[in-house]
């Protein structure tokens, strides 16, 4: 995709992002919740709404950072899965999905209440039922089915319509607040149930705040996200919070608590009360005869229309968001992708939408109570946001290369925001009703079971928790940004050549204050304590000292900066990895005897882990006949492998450091072409490849010779050619430390089957640390 196309995808400015957030935030909850909130905590429930807003504000800050750092579909689920791995990913994925379906069901029942509840539309239109539970459920079911259908068929909604709905809702609520305030609400007893009830009510009303997440899931479509995204989020939280507090103030000040609690249509009932006095004013004008009741009814009807718009648009957004969570889970292979197929004609994720719709219908039919629906949705989202806060901290500490958020929580507020957010979420979760905790717990357990039975195998956990716990390498390194080459030495016969090759690499980075670090490890078996064994092993210690002393002599001779490290440890491999990490090394160079190891290992018990997991450049050298060890005629296998440029760079370093006459050849083998006329000839193809490679490796044109051969059997051709040179450099053909080969089969075959010096090289490995490994390292320091 070209740059300009990418720009086209970003079509949301601040206002659009804000209305999207507001569209799901505003309304639905506030039209339904006042009666439940008033029943639970009286007028003081406005404090609950305010507290919910604050908790959301914290989540909005953390989400803004994550969303701009990883603008991917799936929102919170994606961030948590990326940072904390697929275990928490499964919990949050299913949690959000369940939360959204519970919320949809809640909105739809609210919709039904405003149509057919006591004081609902049925009151004004004679033939419609009023106060019928069955009619409420039926209306909810029908509307949920219609919404599912509209989204299944991809019926087009326009931004303009969305804006009209949001604006009219804002207008209605502002009018409600304005007239309400004028009518002089009086609050009798502010906090009749005490503060614990107020705290418990936060959990109930939190459902009104789950909508702003939508902005995060649209991060990829927002223009100038570093500014617009956090601003839209914060605005989309603050606006409704203030409105909700105001609505609660007016509602509890206008109606008695009992009257409010009994109403199915709280906002409409309050509106009737507010509008009635207006009617008296109007009636005072001569010749204008409007019944008191009709003005009050007009106010109530307006609010009913608003409630209908609000509940429908919120439920619609929830269903679509749920389908996006499914998509993101499928992408990470936590969920079967079958569910995420996009309909060929309607271009909608129709299966995911249907699944969400069906569960929503079931939840409406089961009739667990509108309050419980709201609370379970809140519960699931509070868990999600708690983990989102953790994800921010983990990502900041692990700091993977790909994480570069355009918006960062300001230094002044970090880590206060994520920690306070986490604590607040947990505190609300803990004081929610037992039944809600039980239902939420079942959903969490389902997520865990799903992870164990399905996701664990398919979506290998790539959590960054390990990286976050592990000691920061920069804290140990001296911070000079030195180029460091680590060389494990064990054999006095090969020591010299390995150090010389390492020095060649160091010399190439002289301007970075390069140094070589020689490491020797005395291995002590598991059963014995490290110190105890050493007493009996004076001989080994002596040998180690001797080996490292020689290394220093060689270094002086070669004129390189060298440090030595003598270490006693359990396993040479992990000790070397630790040294690499501690020293913040850029390159590790090991020797290999040229024989494959016994069953358990590919190339050797030390080589496998070091080459497989070292986070820096890694080079393995099999030394051939003397005088040809990294000098003389050096040949690079210029293949298309990802690490071929690294191999070429190594070869270049060796040649320029060598003081004897050396030559550098880039060698490429091509299969014979199929004789197509317009196609490049194999020779041309090979030469082009070599030229690109030399450029990527930073080798100047004049300093190498290009050689292309055409052969059917690439391996044989490589082996034949190898015999003509002194040193052969070959890049790893595979990445990731999982399969049977460490470098790939071709490099390893060359290493085994030629008697020349063979240098296998690869670039930095991107492999995340396991939690256990990280904790072990942390404890070790």
């Amino acid at each position: 995709m070209s740059e300009s196309d990418q720009e086209l995808a970003r079509d949301l400015g601040f206002l659009e992002a804000y209305t999207i957030g507001l569209g799901t935030m505003i309304g639905a909850g506030i039209f339904v919740l006042p009666s439940i909130a008033a029943e639970q905590a009286g007028p003081a429930s406005m404090v609950s709404f305010f507290a919910g807003g604050m908790v959301s504000l914290l989540a909005a800050l953390s989400l803004s950072e994550l969303a701009t750092g990883m603008p991917k579909a799936g929102g919170s689920y994606y961030y948590v899965n990326r940072a904390l791995g697929s275990f928490f990913g499964s919990i949050v994925g299913w949690g959000m999905w369940a939360g959204l379906t519970f919320a949809s069901a809640f909105y739809m029942i609210g919709f039904g209440q405003y149509l057919f509840g006591i004081g609902g539309l049925g009151k004004f239109i004679g033939f419609l039922p009023e106060g019928s539970q069955i009619a409420i459920s039926a209306a909810a079911l029908v509307m949920a089915a219609i919404l599912t259908g509209l989204n299944y068929y991809g019926v087009k909604e326009t931004g303009a319509l969305q804006n009209v709905i949001v604006l009219s809702l804002v207008g209605l609520i502002v009018a409600f607040l304005g007239l309400g305030a004028l009518s002089g609400p009086t609050i009798e007893e502010f906090n009749p149930e005490g503060w614990p009830a107020v705290a418990a009510t936060v959990g109930t009303v939190y459902v009104t705040f789950i909508g702003f997440e939508v902005i995060a899931t649209s991060a990829e479509e927002i223009k100038n996200p570093s500014r617009n995204l956090p601003l839209a989020m914060i605005a989309a939280v603050v606006t409704p919070t203030l409105m909700y507090v105001g609505v609660m103030f007016v509602s509890t000040g206008t109606l008695t608590r009992d009257a409010l609690a009994d109403s199915d249509v709280p906002v409409a009932t309050v509106a009737r009360e507010i509008f009635d006095p207006l009617a008296t004013g109007v009636s005072a004008i001569p010749f204008v005869d409007i019944g008191t009741a009709s003005i009050g009814s007009f106010g109530a009807l307006l609010m009913i229309v608003g409630a209908v718009l609000a509940t429908v648009s919120s439920a619609n957004a929830s269903i679509l968001s749920a389908a996006r969570v499914n998509f993101a889970m499928g992408r990470d292979r936590i969920l079967i992708n079958w569910l995420n197929e996009v309909h060929d004609r309607f271009r909608t994720p129709y299966r995911a939408i249907t699944a969400t719709g069906v569960i929503t219908l079931v939840l409406i039919a089961v009739n667990v109570g509108v309050g419980t629906l709201a609370e379970v949705a809140s519960f699931m989202y509070l868990i999600t946001y708690a983990l989102v806060h953790v994800a921010v901290i983990v990502l900041r500490r692990a700091d993977p290369d790909t994480y570069d958020p355009a918006f960062r929580i300001p230094d002044l507020l970090y880590p206060i925001v994520p920690i306070a957010g986490l604590v607040a979420c947990l505190a609300i979760l803990l004081q929610m009703r037992l039944i809600v905790q039980a239902i939420g717990g079942v959903i969490v357990v389902f997520g865990v079971a799903w992870y164990l039975l399905y996701a664990r195998e398919r979506a290998p956990s790539k959590s960054l928790v390990g990286e976050a716990i592990a000691p920061e390498p920069t804290a140990i390194a001296d911070g000079e940004g030195r180029y460091r080459v680590v060389v494990p030495v064990a054999n006095p016969e090969t020591e010299r050549d390995l150090l010389r090759l390492a020095a060649a690499s160091a010399h190439a980075h002289e301007d970075e204050n390069a140094e070589v670090i020689a490491v020797n490890v005395i291995e002590v078996p598991q059963q014995t304590s490290l110190s105890q064994d050493l007493e009996f092993e004076e001989e080994r210690v002596d040998r180690q000292q001797e080996l490292l002393a020689t290394a220093r002599d060689i270094a002086a001779e070669l004129d390189i900066g060298l440090r030595t490290r003598a270490i006693v440890g359990r396993e040479t491999g992990s000790v070397v990895l630790d040294v690499i990490e501690e020293e913040n090394a850029d390159h590790v160079l090991l020797g290999w005897q040229g024989r494959r190891s016994r069953r358990d290992h590919v190339l050797g018990s030390t080589i496998d882990p070091v080459i497989g997991r070292a986070s820096c450049d890694a080079t393995l050298v099999k030394l051939g006949p003397e005088d040809g060890r990294g000098e003389g005629d050096v040949m690079v296998l210029a293949g298309e492998g990802p690490h071929a440029p690294v191999a070429a760079r190594r070869a270049g370093e060796f040649v320029s450091a060598s003081d004897t006459d050396s030559s550098l050849t880039l060698f490429n083998v091509q299969e014979p072409g199929d004789g197509d006329e317009d196609e490049q000839s194999p020779e041309e193809r090979g030469e082009e490849l070599i030229a690109t490679l030399a450029e990527r490796a930073g080798i100047e044109d004049a300093s190498y010779e290009a050689r292309v051969e055409v052969a059917e059997d690439i391996e044989e051709s490589v082996l034949d050619a190898a015999a003509e040179y002194d040193t052969i450099c070959v890049g790893a053909t595979r990445s990731g430390p999982v399969s049977q080969a460490v470098f790939g089969s071709l490099p390893e075959t060359v290493g085994e089957r030629t008697d020349r010096t063979v240098v296998m090289a690869r670039g930095p490995e991107e492999s995340a640390m396991s939690v256990r490994e990280a904790i072990a390292r942390r404890l070790a320091t």
Binding site: D5, A9, V155, E157, L320, N340, V342
Partner: protein, 156 residues
Amino acid sequence: MNDLLDRIVLPVAGPDDAAATARALSDRDFGSILALNVIEKAGGAPDKASVEQREAVAEEAFAELEARLGPGADIETQVRYGTDVAETIFDAADDFDATAIVITPRGGSRWVRLLTGDVALSLVTDTDRPVVVLPDVDSADPTGDDGPTDSGGEDE
């Protein structure tokens, strides 16, 4: 070669659509192809599916088309974003300097078209260049599991 099919824009909605289009095109002479997938944006309202998901579908569609038309075909692929699909296709045709836009409509009841927007109709009625409508060949393609049974089921 037929001049009309010298430079064609081929809108493909998804893999099945791409397969049908490729079938329809297979026994004809044609020149350069711009395979185009338009990702419809709601322009402020929530989209039905995330952009990322639909980009994946576009890739599948292109792959399907390329596989069916074979390596010899001169195909360029492009994803565009727009609130009006037909309009976006016309823009692409302008930029590509296309001789024709080629479509292969695949049924669908009037109700569905009314609700979901009939892109084919807008293409034909608002166009400023030739629009070639190729019939969906109900081929005996053994791999074709996307025949009329599938689309027939979705029409309801």
